[in-house]
């Protein structure tokens, strides 16, 4: 009897994911199960024991249901985004042709891909469920109650992952066929994290939990949250915590909420399988090729700022290649989004320094995102400039100017808006602080460009870009500390960061001539 096709796909998916640990692949499941058992039995209880008193007080209070609802919602949301984000970053549809040519149903492909990744999802689920059961075990829950709690976690999280897998498959198929679609996908992969970050910031600094617990506020939010499947498990947990060992006391809530979750999961599976044919279609979605429009006032201005003539043309070309990628624009939007969220939930508007410090910590990342593009298109892209007479110098000059033209307006707008919120700030102070921040960030751009030329990132993988972005942030912050604490001269930071920027730019340009 032939092996079911979904199992073939699942086995293949598992092999692909574990290819880097092929030598220990046969023992890997046992190793993981053993480690998880140790975690659940020993590590999780030991880890939670210092907080158990506070947690039990909380779980038996009025705040319990909204608290667990929010926690489960955040997990549900993150888990749903996880496969989507992975798929959007890797928009390859080539393997699909091999699968579609084979005698296999699209729903088998979808199910197989999901099940192949499930062992890894299970690790995460086991860790979260382990923590919760460790917290709840001192209450004396019955074995059936513990089993239902674990099942609730499994069903809730697998639902989120399945929905994410289906959406990911549809998006990959829709977007992965064209260069523009792939670009949009990469842009989305970054932006979709913002709502989840907003929820986290709202919990940490925005008093979201307090608002939900307060019976006078959050009516609509509470009602909406209660309707989400991720919240149904919360009522089961809290019901069990209030009636340990007595499942009969909450049988109706358990039946409706847990039963509802099971029905939701089955319905999601069924609908996902129905959508599989669309999710794995290889039909073209568009035949419209993107066309460049004649240069408008914006590019004319950029050309003018580049001194007109040939360098102006070069600068405009760099600008166009940068600006026509949604991925690049999404990186800017991401940092701006973070600035807005930090401003809303953690903003300190009592004096101008708060806004300045926040900018000093976040703008190195923006600088890295903007000028880090210099190497991510690969060496061949750099060799175009290497081949041209004085091409390396012109590339550095062009990229530096482009970086400034993108970053400085954002910084100026950010500084102006943040400083206007500071009470009784004078116009002169506003101009001075804005000017200082612009000066600092201009140096970040030079520093970032030098760093990326010195330590090139020849890949579009965000993780590699982030390493350089982190170096920039750490070094910039370290230098600020040195200026403030060691020398007690905050303004010393400006010449220091400029010096660093110029040195790195020089070293980076020198390295550009050596890249092979």
């Amino acid at each position: 009897m032939p092996v079911p096709k979904w199992l073939v796909i699942a086995r293949n998916e598992y092999r692909t994911i574990t290819s880097s640990i092929r030598t220990i692949r046969p023992y890997f499941p046992f190793l993981v199960i053993g480690l998880l058992a140790v975690f659940v039995v020993f590590i999780a209880p030991a880890f939670v024991s210092p907080f158990i008193g506070d947690f039990l007080a909380l779980i038996l209070s009025q705040a319990a249901v909204p608290l667990v609802q929010v926690i489960l919602f955040v997990f549900f949301f993150f888990l749903m985004l996880f496969p989507i984000s992975l798929a959007l970053r890797e928009m390859r549809t080539g393997q699909l042709e091999i699968l579609r040519a084979a005698p296999i149903k699209p729903s088998d492909v979808l199910l197989g891909k999901f099940l192949g990744a499930t062992p890894f999802y299970a690790i995460f689920i086991a860790v979260i469920a382990g923590f919760f059961t460790a917290f709840l075990s001192p209450l004396g829950l019955g074995i059936v109650q513990i089993a239902i709690i674990i099942m609730t976690f499994i069903v809730t999280f697998l639902s989120a992952l399945w929905i994410g897998t289906v959406i990911a498959a549809i998006l990959r198929t829709k977007l992965g066929k064209t260069a523009r679609g792939k670009d949009i996908g990469k842009a989305l992969s970054l932006i979709i994290a913002l709502p989840a970050i907003a929820v986290m910031y709202a919990i940490i600094g925005g008093g979201l939990l307090e608002a939900l617990v307060d019976p006078r506020t959050g009516g609509i939010v509470k009602a909406t949250l209660g309707l989400l499947p991720s919240s149904w498990g919360a009522e089961v947990f809290v019901g069990f915590a209030s009636n340990p060992g007595n499942i009969a006391a909450v049988w109706f809530e358990t039946l409706t909420r847990f039963g509802g979750l099971i029905i939701f999961f089955v319905a999601a599976l069924w609908l996902g399988a129905k959508a599989a044919d669309r999710a794995y279609s290889l039909d073209f979605t568009t035949f419209t090729a993107s066309r460049a429009k004649p240069d408008g006032a914006f590019y004319q201005t950029v050309k003018y700022l580049g001194g007109g003539r040939l360098f102006g043309t070069l600068l405009v070309s760099i600008f166009k290649d940068y600006g026509r990628r949604f991925e690049n624009l999404s990186k800017i939007a991401y940092v701006v989004g973070l600035l807005v969220l930090v401003g809303i939930f953690f903003g300190d508007y009592e004096g101008p320094i708060g806004a300045m410090i926040m900018g000093i910590f976040l703008f190195p990342i923006l600088a890295a995102f903007v000028v880090g593009e210099v190497t991510v298109r690969g060496k061949e892209n750099l060799f175009i400039y290497r081949k041209a007479p004085s091409g390396e110098g012109r590339l550095v000059k062009g990229r530096l100017l482009q970086g400034w033209l993108v970053v400085i307006p954002i910084v100026a707008v950010y500084a102006t808006i943040s400083l206007i919120l500071v009470p009784q700030i004078t116009f002169i102070s506003l101009l001075t602080y804005t000017g200082l921040l612009v000066l600092i960030v201009a140096a970040y751009v030079a520093f970032a460009l030098g760093l990326f030329l010195l330590m090139p990132v020849f890949s579009e993988k965000p993780a590699e870009l982030m390493v350089n972005a982190m170096i920039l942030t750490m070094v910039s912050a370290g230098l600020l500390m040195v200026s403030m604490i060691v020398f007690d001269l905050p303004l010393l930071y400006i010449p220091l960061i400029w010096l660093l920027g110029i040195v790195f730019l020089y070293l980076g340009k020198r390295n550009l001539g050596r890249i092979e």
Binding site: P2, V3, K5, V8, N12, R15, T16, I17, S19, S20, R92, T93, G94, Q95, L96, E97, I98, L99, R100, A101, A102, P103, I104, S281, L282, D283, F284, F287
Partner: protein, 259 residues
């Protein structure tokens, strides 16, 4: 055998873009047929339609008597496809990849390992069977993909640009293999290419497709005779259009063009 009946695939609003337009074609059992055409002519769309990867807008086709609209699974079982730019599973070894393909095409478990080994030996990859595909050269990857197309020993084989990424030695090997598959194994072979010598050398009959329409059909000699040209290349240009000699250096005549 392959028979298409007004097979069409249209895209865009109101079916404005005709990727394949009312294709009527017959490829006989054991024949090696070549579909020629410039880039974007509709060759790959035709192959995808015939392999049930996409569905036609209208018309249909049968492969070994199985209708592409009604018997999708049977059609897929009787065909093997070497796609133009397929995505390999880079994190699998050659053996693991062929094992996957064998399982997808229901090759019985008791004969699959031996068949994989035979194919890997045939393509000179046996010693590298456990290396991940990410470390293979383009030519080696192409060999693995051809082996994957053969894994279930289908009677009909589609090769979409089979030698476009290969060095001369690997290209020669692929050509020899296609010849043997046709001559000794009696396979029906459908080759899509824009490399004219390949098609000229391997195919008994050829069809030329342009903008979705089949505009010429016959043996190489018949097509050359029809167009009153001397070579297949000239015939191809005559049928599909090309740049005239006098236009080639026109750009130099513009004032100030020289550096």
């Amino acid at each position: 055998m392959i028979r298409t009946d007004k097979l069409s695939k249209y895209y865009g609003k109101g079916g404005k873009i005709k990727a394949v337009d009312e294709l009527d074609l017959e490829v006989h059992e054991g024949e090696t047929f070549g579909l020629l055409g410039p880039n974007g002519a509709g060759k790959t769309t035709t192959v995808r339609l015939l392999n049930c990867i996409i569905k036609p807008t209208s018309g249909t086709a049968t492969l070994n008597g199985h209708d592409i609209l009604k018997e999708e699974m049977e059609v897929k079982r009787v065909t093997g496809l070497l796609a133009e730019s397929p995505g390999l599973y880079d994190k699998l070894s050659a053996y693991e990849f062929l094992e996957l393909m064998g399982a997808l095409y229901d090759v019985p478990g008791n004969i699959l390992p031996e068949r994989i080994d035979d194919l890997l030996k045939l393509f000179g990859l046996y010693n590298r069977r456990d290396y991940l595909l990410e470390g293979y050269s383009r030519g080696m990857k192409q060999k693995v993909l051809i082996a994957a197309a053969l894994i279930h020993d289908p009677p009909i084989l589609f090769f979409d640009e089979p030698t476009s990424m290969l060095d001369p030695r690997a290209a020669l090997m692929v050509k020899d293999l296609i010849k043997r598959l046709a001559d000794r194994a009696g396979k029906t072979i459908f080759i899509c290419s824009h490399i004219l010598p390949i098609v000229e050398e391997l195919c008994g009959r050829i069809g030329i497709i342009n903008q979705g329409k089949l505009i010429a059909l016959g043996t190489v000699d018949e097509i050359i005779a029809q167009t009153e040209t001397k070579t297949l290349e000239e015939a191809f240009i005559a049928i599909t259009g090309g740049v005239e000699d006098k236009e080639l250096l026109a750009w130099r005549e513009q004032r100030g063009a020289s550096a």
